[in-house]
Subunit: 212 residues, 2 copies
């Protein structure tokens, strides 16, 4: 791509935006989401309150964009390490659906247990429950793209004849994705590799002796 | 049981408590959880703010007890209608696990789609994500007792030889309970009888052609 000349005002905006993201993520970690305010984010980022209100309607909207940016950065770092673009990582298709699902679910457990993601992701999920607009954006921009990776992997397994042809992939993936999300969000049980291994096995092969 | 003489002060307390529950449930419905305050609950209930703070540490704690009371009332009404105690309803064991699970899951869908439960339950779930103490109480008093009903039904199915003996019932139930909870909380998909029927079928029989 040709090198573009970036005007000063765009560079200043970009600097402000990054400062606002950093401030929002740091504050939600330090003080918790309930005490997070636009005022505090502005003060920490060294920008005026009006700058934030010009770009975002609520603290939930700021935090959602900050979190999406954090996820983008993690992908960019992974791409640099790998030497190629891994932003749109598909779930590996090794031909062994059980092994591939266990691999990605174990990695997700490790990510959920990482404190860097814990506070903002939990705050966004909570805000999404109470504020339908943030909730819809959370689902559309964050949750659903992750779930669609499973949809595509299940479709490949159906094409290979490993998954029953009448199974609806968008529903089937919830058998393993939702238990992990609920345990993590509600802290209703331990999140371990052994746990997700069992969930994947039960989902693929069922918990009964046989089909009826 | 012998008729007890209830002292006036206990009756007054009971009246205040009920007024506080009613006020909290009405307000969370009308103004939303974010704008709910102890002050507003006290004003609506016609009690002093200090009365509420004497009994509960936070608005989340008030709402949790109000919701548990609402659930108790619903059970009491059901008992009266049925002419016997149904407070501790077990999941029916007709010998057909698929039919019994579909029955209870369809009833849960209907309950989640009832606006009376929607606002307070969603608010409690959100508060539980941000406030670990409310979250732990939510899980212990509300979520886990409901999940244990599935544990006991799965154990019976194991004794009858319908469910594989090495399946962990506390994990297996999440295959159908968590997808329903996540769809409802995140509004990430429609909640219908057809949906829960599929989830139950996939969980019982698996989504692949056969065991490995």
């Amino acid at each position: 791509m040709a090198q573009k000349t970036v005007p000063d005002s765009t560079r200043r905006s970009e600097r402000s935006r990054r400062a606002i993201y950093d401030a929002a993520l740091a504050l939600v970690h330090e003080t918790g989401y309930a005490k997070l305010t636009i005022e505090a984010i502005a003060a920490r980022a060294g920008v005026g309150k009006q700058t934030i209100y010009r770009w975002w309607p609520s603290k939930g909207a700021v935090l959602l964009d900050a979190f999406l940016d954090l996820a983008d950065q993690a992908s960019a770092e992974a791409s640099e390490k790998a030497g190629h673009d891994v932003v749109q990582t598909e779930i590996t298709d090794s031909g062994d659906l059980e092994a591939d699902l266990k691999h990605v679910m174990r990695a997700t457990v490790d990510e959920f247990n990482d404190p860097k993601y814990d506070a903002p992701y939990r705050a966004l999920a909570a805000e999404g429950l109470l504020n339908p607009e943030v909730g819809a954006e959370f689902v559309e921009k964050l949750l659903e793209p992750q779930l669609q990776l499973f949809v595509r992997r299940i479709r490949k397994a159906q094409e290979a004849g490993h998954v029953l042809p009448d199974v609806d992939p968008r529903i089937a993936l919830e058998l393993w994705a939702s238990p992990l999300a609920q345990r993590w969000l509600m802290r209703s049980g331990p999140l371990t590799h052994e746990y997700v291994d069992k969930i994947v096995e039960y989902a693929l092969y069922g918990i009964t002796r046989s089909r009826p």
